[in-house]
């Protein structure tokens, strides 16, 4: 029961003391800032996670033994009702070098054996994909299509590559650039061209590069030849496998953009058959196998509920399909595939939230200060209330109520402002930029066109309720002080 005088007196105190307004504004500000800043950060993290998930298959079967073929795994995996599609993946490594010829246009420095502008630029993580199957598992078309908008944002007008739209599936499987494009590229590079333009047929397998390599090779045009230098152990007839170096000529087929930074920086996508051929498993060879290092898996939407169980089941199925005695393979979901990176991002967000908690704490201090002062100033009133028969609890409740009202109003206002400003952040940011040249949230920071904003209901309620709760806790101290006073001394107080 709250004695009737508690809210009554609390209300009078609140209305007659302007300092309460300040405390309320303090809470409003803290809540507003927490919501806004975190919504931007959550938006940013959400964007990163979306990028990562865009670049990553839903599940991947990996840690396979060397010389594993795709077919047995495919049938084992696709026998499971949860699996919608699978696609073969072949990881390899190599060095991509532009082809330079004495007579041709020399990109970069002439004559040097190798072209290293950056420790990683020449190196590529080669990802052999089957363009015919890959699109069923990852948004391959989107990766390529997005490059146009991503590059446009950096003032590079380049249409997205059309290699995936090639009607002939055999050509599409090799990511071949159009015949005349390759013909022109050969001419450009000063390479020998047999026959007329109209008769030329493309032969170089295509390679799609992450758009971040554009910085190192701005001169690269569709069809331009690239040499892939690599080494791999090749099975020899009898005897131990031997390490062999390889060179594979590829045609630059276009840029892709998943926006997952690490992926776009390091990965080169090329036809899996081209890579298999380089590694000694040519399609035409009857002894060859359809070599894979991973199998990318997409699930039916209905099966996504219990990802862990599905992953375990698929792992068991795949393990049975491997030769007996193979080391255990593993099935990873998209987050498990990127724990290091996602963990680093989460750490950053946790640091940010810690700082926001400090903000809340300081705002709660304001309430404490105001209430504490109020108790000191109203010492005599407290004595009067006690003399009139107010119980200590009810007297404490007066100040607690003050704190709660201030915090609740502040928190509600702050939440309202926070949500409003988060929704209109980009407009405000642009308006401010247009008027003053200042940016509240510098867009360059996010590498994005618009400041990403995401209001997380969980965080909203945590902040809003947390502010009230924190204020309540801090208000308890002055309230306790008021409840514990000795009425006789309080009455004598002057």
């Amino acid at each position: 029961m709250i004695a009737a005088f508690s809210p009554f007196v609390a209300l009078r105190y609140l209305l007659t003391r302007r300092i309460n307004l300040l405390a309320m504004l303090g809470v409003t500000f803290a809540v507003w800032a927490s919501i806004l800043v975190d919504s931007v950060f959550t938006g940013f993290v959400g964007e990163i996670r979306r990028d990562v998930s865009r670049a990553t298959p839903e599940l991947i079967l990996t840690d396979l033994p060397l010389d594993t073929g795709y077919e047995p795994l495919r049938s084992a995996l696709e026998a499971d009702d949860a699996v919608a599609a699978t696609a073969p993946r072949l990881r390899h490594h190599g060095l991509l070098q532009p082809v330079r010829t004495p007579g041709g246009r020399a990109p970069g420095a002439e004559g040097a054996e190798l072209h290293f502008d950056h420790m990683q630029s020449g190196f590529a993580l080669l990802l052999g994909i089957d363009p015919l199957r890959e699109a069923a598992v990852t948004p391959l078309h989107e990766w390529v299509a997005r490059s146009e908008t991503v590059l446009a944002a950096r003032h590079v007008a380049l249409p997205a590559s059309a290699v995936l739209d090639e009607p002939d599936p055999l050509r599409r499987a090799q990511l071949l650039v159009p015949d005349d494009v390759e013909w022109l590229a050969r001419r450009r590079a000063g390479l020998r061209v047999d026959g007329a333009r109209a008769e030329h047929r493309s032969t170089w397998p295509g390679v799609l590069l992450g758009w971040r390599r554009l910085a190192y090779a701005p001169w690269l045009r569709e069809g331009d030849p690239l040499d892939l230098l690599s080494a791999a152990s090749v099975p020899t007839t009898g005897g131990a496998p031997q390490l062999r170096t390889h060179r594979l000529r590829l045609a630059f087929a276009g840029w892709f953009a998943t926006s997952y930074r690490a992926f776009d920086e390091t990965t080169a996508l090329l036809p899996i058959e081209a890579l298999r051929t380089m590694l000694g498993h040519d399609l035409a060879d009857p002894d060859s196998i359809d070599l894979v290092t991973d199998v990318a898996i997409r699930l039916h939407p209905a099966a996504r509920g219990d990802l862990g169980a599905v992953a375990r089941r698929l792992q068991a199925a795949a393990q049975r399909a491997l030769p007996p005695g193979s080391p255990p393979c593993i099935v990873l979901d998209w987050q498990q595939q990127n724990t290091v990176f996602l963990g680093a991002v989460a750490t950053e967000q946790a640091m940010m939230q810690f700082v926001l908690f400090v903000v809340m704490l300081v705002a709660a201090f304001v309430i404490y200060a105001v209430l504490h002062m109020m108790v000191v100033q109203k010492w005599k009133d407290i004595g009067i209330l006690a003399a009139l028969g107010g119980t200590p609890r009810a007297i404490g409740a007066v100040f607690l109520l003050c704190g709660v009202v201030v915090a609740t109003l502040g928190s509600a206002l702050g939440t309202a402002f926070g949500v409003l400003s988060a929704l209109h952040l980009n407009d405000a940011n642009e308006w401010l930029f247009a008027r003053t040249g200042l940016e509240l949230f510098p867009r360059a920071l996010f590498d994005l066109q618009r400041v990403p904003v995401r209001l997380e209901p969980a965080w909203l309620s945590t902040v809003a309720l947390g502010a009230v709760l924190l204020a309540l806790l801090t208000a308890l101290l002055p309230a306790r002080k008021a409840a514990r006073m000795n009425p006789v001394q309080a009455l004598a107080h002057e």
Partner: protein, 447 residues
């Protein structure tokens, strides 16, 4: 005099002022701590990169370039202390008969690279290299276990019993279980153009003996590079060009003029390589430029943090404003008496301003000290928290660090102090001004 006297009295008799101070303290503390971690992180990464780099490197040299002539030209520059020619190639390293694993899945690699099977092979002269980079120190890094250490660090690459030697990054050695004296095979290739522009790849296999481990602070560098003797690599790659060079590492006398020197050397190199065809050859880069992309990728997160820190400041300002204006309200009677005794409004203003500024100063001072202390002892705090609660506040291995980074930049501290002080002054000014404008008669009459 009475101003100071009163200000001190007011402060000492009102513990609530401590709270205002606490607000400033807390915000300054958080500012200093968080920013010092972030800066420390940057500084540390930069130091790591720096430790593995030459001051300046000259690369993209044409095939016909003469190492000797170029070296001599570079040495003529007053700021060049030493130069070291290098050959830079690529390859795979493995025990004979071993089959290399495919590269790790993208998301499972170390955050800053260095665990790929494919690597760069640096052909260096051990003596020249030691004069230009921290090469000698890399071999003596204390974290290298004794059994992986180079036996003779003064001549680490000298061939023993006819087999040339190779230095491998410590982590790669440990990961692949390599030991000193192991025989390894470096597989690489050489492009050989035919007259038609078609290039064939001629395979080259070098049998090497592991001389020991090297360790810089830059995990990416250690993982991506191995060292062999330059002459060994040259004979394999360019048997007909005794003077071949692909990169020249340069050490400067004075690093503060890095960019000016880089520009000067660039002109010098272009002149030395000019064949009268107006083609600019050779590229000179300072270490910061050379690793620019890597450094920038680490730096871009700091911006948002500063916004949050401003938010704390403003909240602390609210707290100060609340405590100070309550003090003024409470001291209205005093203000009346003071005025009656002949204090000018300005004097009254100064009393309360002094209160506010003292609180601010104390808060800033304590906040700076607390922030500095926690920053400096952060690693110990992290270990304690890990030990006490099992929570790791800062996952170090992700960033390839051995302790929580922290860098206190005096300029930044000064900026924080100035910002906090300005905030304190502004929020003290308003209540002080209110006090000064107060009608003394109202105070004396009381209510």
């Amino acid at each position: 005099m009475y101003r100071l006297f009163l200000a001190v009295r007011y402060l000492l008799t009102r513990p609530i002022n401590l709270l205002g101070m606490l607000g400033i303290l807390l915000s300054v503390w958080a500012l200093v701590l968080v920013v010092s971690i972030f800066s420390g992180f940057l500084v540390e990464i930069e130091r790591h990169v720096r430790s593995a780099s030459a001051d300046v490197s000259v690369h993209r040299l044409p095939a016909w370039a003469s190492g000797k002539a170029l070296e001599q030209a570079l040495r003529d520059d007053p700021n060049v202390r030493d130069v070291a020619p290098r050959l830079v190639h690529y390859g795979m390293l493995g025990r004979p008969g071993d089959r290399p694993q495919p590269p790790p899945l993208l998301g499972r690699t170390a955050l800053h690279g260095g665990d790929q099977p494919f690597l760069l092979v640096l052909g260096v002269d051990a003596a020249a290299e030691a004069a230009v980079t921290g090469f000698a120190g890399w071999l003596r890094a204390p974290s290298i276990p004794p059994d992986l250490r180079v036996a003779d660090p003064t001549a680490p690459l000298a061939a023993a019993d006819g087999t040339p030697r190779v230095l491998v990054g410590l982590e790669r050695m440990q990961r692949e279980g390599l030991r000193r004296g192991d025989r390894v095979l470096l597989t690489t290739g050489r492009l050989q153009g035919d007259g038609d522009g078609q290039k064939g790849l001629q395979q080259i296999s070098l049998e090497l003996q592991v001389a020991g481990a090297f360790k810089t602070h830059h995990g990416g560098f250690d993982g991506n590079n191995v060292f062999v003797d330059r002459e060994v690599l040259r004979q394999a790659l360019f048997p007909d060009r005794p003077d071949a060079v692909q990169e020249i590492a340069v050490r400067l006398h004075d690093e503060s003029t890095l960019s000016a020197t880089t520009d000067r050397l660039q002109r010098l190199v272009v002149r030395a390589l000019d064949r009268g065809d107006d083609l600019a050859r050779g590229h000179v880069q300072g270490w910061r430029d050379k690793n620019g992309q890597f450094l920038r990728s680490v730096e871009h997160q700091r911006g948002l943090l500063k916004i949050v820190l401003v938010v704390i400041m403003v909240t602390a300002a609210f707290l100060m404003l609340a405590t100070l204006s309550m003090m003024v309200t409470e001291k209205t009677a005093d203000i009346g008496i003071l005025t009656a005794m002949g204090a000018t409004p300005l004097g009254v203003l100064q009393v309360f301003l002094a209160c506010g500024l003292t609180i601010t100063a104390a808060g800033v001072g304590l906040g700076l000290s607390a922030g500095t202390l926690t920053s400096v002892y952060l690693e110990e705090i992290r270990r304690f928290v890990l030990w006490a609660t099992g929570v790791d506040l800062f996952p170090l291995q992700v960033y390839n660090l051995d302790r929580v980074p922290c860098a206190l930049e005096p300029l930044w501290l000064l900026q924080v102090a100035a910002m906090a002080f300005a905030t304190g002054a502004v929020v003290s000014a308003w209540p002080a001004w209110r006090a000064a404008r107060h009608d003394p008669l109202v105070s004396l009459r009381g209510t």
